[in-house]
């Protein structure tokens, strides 16, 4: 009797669990669809003609005669190659500088003692919440005074030394036990070797996270290049694409093809580094 009852109870419980599971998957699929449909639509539109893009009845994802030409024409319609070159150069330089200088400074803040340490760190902290938009104008005036207007170098100076990077890396390094550094010091390692041989290899998750953030924000930045880069041959891909959209707003297929091209690098970087990402966010104190 009791056995039977618990059996029944168990059965209804597992039935409930099953319904719960189905609901969870249903919600997940709907959200995933909302997230991904715009991208599929982008891919689909990028191989359509201008007429086919908005053809709803019948709607097809892949047109009978795919216009692969869109992907060739976009390179000649605008100097896309130049834009890509500029953006790749900027993004790589900024990301490398950011990773190197931030982790370097963060090591000192986390593991070394020196005068004015708290004061200097306070300067970083105080500016984290300060939107760049508040001081972008005086910054531009200053850079113009330094002769950096309309130079890619201005964009590098602008983006390579963020307070955020130092803060994030410092939080991560503080989670690494001091004994490790102490032991290395007793073994006769100097600070530079400890940083390079011990700290850097341990900070892969934080470095990956910072790489994703820096890469994505530099690659996708629009307002910065809009203020600084005036000559067409110096423009970044975001600026160039936006310019193209402004000029040929009805060249839908070409716009989409250009958009797909502009997405590829960030998505590659993200896919390669994403396995460290959640861990990196969790361990670097970003959650507050």
């Amino acid at each position: 009797m009791t056995n039977e009852m618990t059996g029944k109870k168990y059965k209804s419980k597992s039935k409930n669990a099953l319904i719960g599971k189905i609901v969870v998957y249903l919600i997940l699929f709907i959200i995933a669809a909302i997230m991904i449909v715009p991208f599929l639509w982008m891919l689909s539109a990028s191989i359509k003609s201008n007429r086919e893009v908005f053809l709803m009845d019948p709607f097809v994802w892949i047109p009978e005669v795919p216009k692969w030409n869109n992907y060739i024409n976009i390179w000649t319609k605008i100097p896309l190659l130049k834009f890509v070159e500029n953006t790749v150069f900027l993004t790589i330089v900024v990301t490398c500088l950011q990773l190197l200088t931030s982790s370097f400074a963060a090591y000192s803040f986390a593991k070394l003692e020196f005068k004015n340490k708290n004061l200097m760190f306070l300067a970083y902290i105080a500016t984290i919440a300060m939107p760049w938009q508040v001081y972008m104008v005086p910054q531009f005036i200053m850079m113009r005074g330094m002769g950096l207007n309309d130079k890619l170098l201005a964009m590098i100076c602008l983006q390579a030394f963020s307070a955020f990077g130092v803060f994030m890396m410092k939080q991560f390094y503080e989670g690494i036990p001091n004994d490790l550094c102490e032991a290395a010091r007793i073994d006769g390692m100097n600070e530079y070797t400890i940083y390079a041989k011990i700290m850097l290899p341990l900070s892969k998750p934080a470095l990956s996270t910072l790489t994703i953030f820096t890469f994505v924000s530099t690659w996708n930045d629009y307002l910065g290049p809009l203020i600084y880069l005036k000559t067409e041959s110096k423009k970044t891909i975001q600026l160039g694409l936006r310019m193209f959209i402004g000029q040929y707003s009805s060249e839908y297929g070409l716009i989409m093809a250009g958009s797909v091209v502009s997405l590829i690098p960030v998505i590659l970087v993200f896919l390669v580094l994403q396995k460290y990402f959640v861990e990196g966010v969790a361990s670097s104190g970003l959650k507050g």
Binding site: M35, I36, L112, Q238, I245, Q247, M256, L263, V278, V281
Partner: protein, 349 residues
């Protein structure tokens, strides 16, 4: 160098003990005093050498520490700290960037309340913040809870949800403006054919009062994946024992959320809300790209603070006025940050 110093110290110490001996044996009080003075001098020399060595080692350690910081700090000070100070000064001036600077005191701030375009920008920005922050928070928390369970293809769902965050704004706003195109887009087509909305009532997503809603929806879609990751990190910090204990006490799913998950995530939620608020106040690109049309000009219905800062600075070259608007932006962000600090202190207490 060090050996030389060590030898010097040794010699001085020998002299020191010899003098001590002499002091003990000397009976003449005047001579004794002279000896003591000599001995003090020697002692002073020894400590000087030792101290000198210690200071230089400390200096060396400090120099190493500074050498780690310098590359970042110099760039940071020149390109961030100085412009920030400059921005505060600029707000009280009248300057076109070329001619002489004139200080006008509070003049710029006084004309803000009568500037209708500024008021529209302020109002739109606040509406945008008030709409985007709670919606994004709820959506990202819900998604994080779903994806923290043992579901199949969890990695796939996480990646997909994060996709819009990494995708470039220019590209995805282009897709959105096509998909939500008032007359040709698939969204309105679905509304027309599936939901049978009359042709005349089809929403014009990018103009009038509706544009702010479109901006909010777009932002939730783009940013929820990022905040989901932060929530996931927070969820993983909750000890599973709490849920086991809750289960033993017979708590259902809702109760577990209400009494375990939600309180445990308090600091994460606060961080998310503050970051979201700050980021939302900075809105510019989204508005320009979705509502700006070909020339990127925003009307009063879609204008935002950063747009007006940009316009005043780089189109009208009213740098002082532009900076005073930037100060309004700064003060609002500052207030949010201060509330966060107070709240976190309260949490810790």
């Amino acid at each position: 160098m060090n050996e030389k110093k060590a030898a010097q110290v040794k010699k001085l110490e020998a002299e020191f003990s010899e003098l001590t001996q002499q002091i003990y044996t000397e009976n003449d009080i005047v001579k004794k005093r002279k000896l003591i003075a000599r001995r003090d001098k020697v002692r002073w020399k020894v400590t000087a050498i030792k101290n000198n060595r210690r200071i230089s080692r400390e200096t060396k350690r400090e120099l190493i520490a500074y050498s780690f910081i310098a590359p970042n700090f110099i760039g940071f000070a020149v390109f961030t700290l100085i412009p920030i100070v400059f921005a505060f000064v600029l707000a009280f001036t009248n300057w076109d960037g070329n001619n002489a600077v004139t200080f006008v005191g509070l003049e710029n701030f006084k004309s803000l309340p009568t500037d209708t375009f500024f008021l529209a920008a302020l109002r739109n920005t606040i509406i945008y913040v008030l709409g985007t922050v709670p919606l994004t928070m709820v959506a990202s928390l819900g998604l994080a809870i779903l994806l923290n369970q043992k579901v199949k293809a969890r990695g796939f769902f996480r990646t997909v949800a994060f996709f819009p965050y990494v995708a470039s704004l220019v590209a995805i706003t282009a897709v959105w403006s096509m998909m939500f195109h008032p007359s040709k887009g698939p969204v309105n087509y679905l509304l027309l054919t599936v939901l049978k909305v009359p042709q005349a009532d089809l929403p014009k997503w990018f103009s009038g009062t509706l544009v702010l809603l479109t901006l909010i929806l777009f932002s939730v879609w783009k940013y929820m994946g990022y905040y989901m990751v932060i929530y996931l990190a927070g969820l993983q910090g909750i000890s599973p024992e709490l849920y086991e204990a809750g289960g033993l006490d017979g708590a259902n799913t809702w109760q577990k959320f209400r009494y375990i998950t939600w309180p445990q995530l308090r600091s994460t939620t606060f961080f998310v809300v503050v970051m979201l608020t700050i980021n939302c106040f900075k809105v510019y690109d989204i508005a320009v790209m979705l509502a700006g049309g070909g020339d990127g000009k925003l009307s009063t219905s879609a204008t935002v603070l950063v747009y007006y800062i940009y316009q005043n600075a780089f189109n009208y070259w009213k740098l002082g006025y532009s900076s005073s608007i930037a100060m309004v932006l700064f003060v609002m962000v500052l207030i949010i940050t201060l509330i966060q600090f107070r709240y976190q202190k309260k949490l810790e207490a």
